[in-house]
């Protein structure tokens, strides 16, 4: 295990007067691949938004590589859910990816260096041949790869992904998770999803989030973690998927 890159202590977050996160404690170490699962509305996206500095916590301490969010959020790469974009927006894949260099841009135009970094990021996700394609013309899986390339173009140390396979068919998802495992050789990954089985196959550690975080430093989910998170027994059948999510158990789950 490497040194901690993200430390969250006793975090409380309100949105429009409603408590969304409470008592959240989390430490993520360098080169970890953390999967955060939980029900919709459980605060998964909010937790990412706190790390990105888009939401201010009511209480608690958040550190990115030992410094405040404001100071070090440029070390984060962000892959949002695709749902928010306008498909009719006239913009090419290359233009989307290079937009990650904007804050570092000097003057009116991007530098040769910026274009090189953007191309390298597209190459990394095997999308360089589609550089001049329109964003709206891509399939769900291709779009997701472009968004990863855009995040990579900011040259992050930590990559945050919000439901990256939500709009992708399962055939494509496997290849996508393999790409993430490759990226994990070079950086820390935090992935948020409600797709328990897919996530738990590929991540190194798992946490469950529903207002508060149930975090165990392993890849196996305990039945207790799941029940605490979803407030009901979840029918987690381990048979037929490559990696066993649940520890070997006796009796029928959920009965």
């Amino acid at each position: 295990m490497g040194k901690p890159v993200i430390e969250i202590k006793n975090l409380f977050v309100d949105l429009d007067g409603v408590t969304v996160l409470e008592h959240v404690n989390l430490t993520v170490n360098e080169y970890d691949f953390l999967g955060i699962i939980g029900p919709n509305g459980g605060g998964k996206t909010t937790l990412l938004r706190v790390l990105l500095g888009l939401v201010k916590p009511v209480r608690g301490k958040v550190r990115i590589m030992g410094e405040s969010v404001e100071k070090n959020r440029h070390l984060l790469g962000y892959v949002p859910q695709y749902a928010v974009f306008d498909r009719s927006f006239p913009i090419s894949v290359g233009e989307v990816v290079i937009s990650a260099r904007l804050a570092r841009k000097q003057g009116r135009r991007f530098s040769r260096e910026d274009y090189k970094i953007a191309d390298a990021a597209l190459e990394r996700v095997e999308m360089l041949p589609l550089r001049s394609r329109q964003m709206g013309e891509l399939s769900g899986g291709e779009r997701q790869r472009v968004l990863v390339a855009r995040a990579l173009a900011a040259q992050p140390r930590i990559l945050l992904l919000d439901e990256p396979t939500a709009s992708v068919d399962s055939r494509f998802a496997a290849g996508f998770y393999e790409l993430l495992q490759e990226l994990n050789q070079e950086m820390t990954l935090i992935l948020v999803s409600h797709d328990i089985s897919a996530v738990s196959t590929y991540v190194k550690t798992l946490a469950c989030l529903n207002r508060t975080l149930f975090y165990e430093n392993s890849r196996e989910l305990s039945q207790e973690m799941i029940e605490n998170t979803y407030h009901c027994p979840v029918d987690l059948i381990a048979h037929g998927i490559p990696h066993r999510v649940l520890p070997p158990h006796n009796g029928v789950v959920g009965s």
Binding site: L52, L54, P80, V84, F85, S99, K105
Partner: protein, 263 residues
């Protein structure tokens, strides 16, 4: 082409060109960012400034500039609050601007005959000093878009990611609304406050159907704006029709044609 002998005709064509450049560039952002309603609000508050100009006896175009910039700042603040009732506040500011204008005009001494030209446009009678003012605003708009093209594009496409990347999104959003305000002032003399929003959005809406990039969309919008203003001007001259309304109807016909072609 004998109509080009008239100075007022040459001036009108020049105003049409200046209007087309401003609304092609800024209208493109208005359409892709979906801030048509905010822009409508900004344009209508111009009436308050025009009324103030009449009341205090200075050029109503300066009053319009003042009021649209103030309302752009106000709308910018409303836009940044993630409140559910944004559109209500914008609608209220829209009406208050108009109401102030009506009050000022009522209080103004003397005859206010050319008030209608601010409401519905009068491209054939734009005074020389206003043409110079429009030219100045055009240059400001072109300079700002030229300098911040990439920033505006990235924020329009994905505001949240732009913010995460460290861009000062609030600054650029307010700057864009100020540019909308200036564009509105540029357009008032040509098509009038009430019709501004149509000419601001129709050329980019058509161009957007056929463009693969924002630059192309802007360029095509400018060309379409020139075609619409020139054709509208010619038709209004030929048949003695109100110029502002004719330009808008020509643009609307173009829009319908484009939608049919796209089908």
């Amino acid at each position: 082409m004998e109509i080009l002998q008239f100075e007022f005709m040459r001036n009108a064509l020049l105003v049409g060109l200046l209007v087309s450049v401003a609304c092609g560039m800024i209208g493109t952002y208005v359409v892709v960012k979906r801030i048509v309603f905010i822009s409508g609000g900004i344009s209508h508050t111009a009436y308050g400034g025009i009324g103030l100009g009449y009341y205090l006896g200075f050029n109503p175009m300066l009053g319009a500039t003042l009021f649209t910039i103030i309302s752009a700042l106000g709308m910018g603040l409303v836009q940044q609050r993630s409140s559910q009732r944004q559109d209500t506040v914008i609608g209220v500011m829209w009406a208050v601007g108009m109401a102030l204008g009506i009050m000022f005009v009522k209080l103004s001494p003397g005859y206010t005959a050319d008030l209608m030209s601010y409401l519905f446009g009068s491209i054939l009678t734009v005074p020389q000093r206003d043409i110079l003012f429009i030219l100045l605003l055009d240059l400001l708009i072109i300079a700002a878009v030229f300098r911040y093209f990439e920033e505006f594009k990235a924020i329009a496409f994905d505001e949240e990611f732009a913010r995460v990347s460290g861009l000062k999104v609030e600054f650029f959003n307010i700057l864009l609304l100020i540019l909308v305000a200036l564009t509105v002032v540029v357009m008032i003399r040509a098509v009038g406050i009430i019709l501004v929003i149509a000419l601001l959005t129709i050329p980019p809406a058509i161009a957007g159907e056929f463009s693969r990039g924002l630059k192309g969309m802007m360029g095509f919008s400018v060309v379409l704006g020139i075609i619409f203003t020139t054709a509208g001007l010619y038709l209004s001259y030929l048949f003695d029709l109100p110029s502002g309304a004719t330009i808008i109807l020509v643009a609307a016909a173009g829009y319908i044609l484009a939608l049919l072609m796209k089908k």
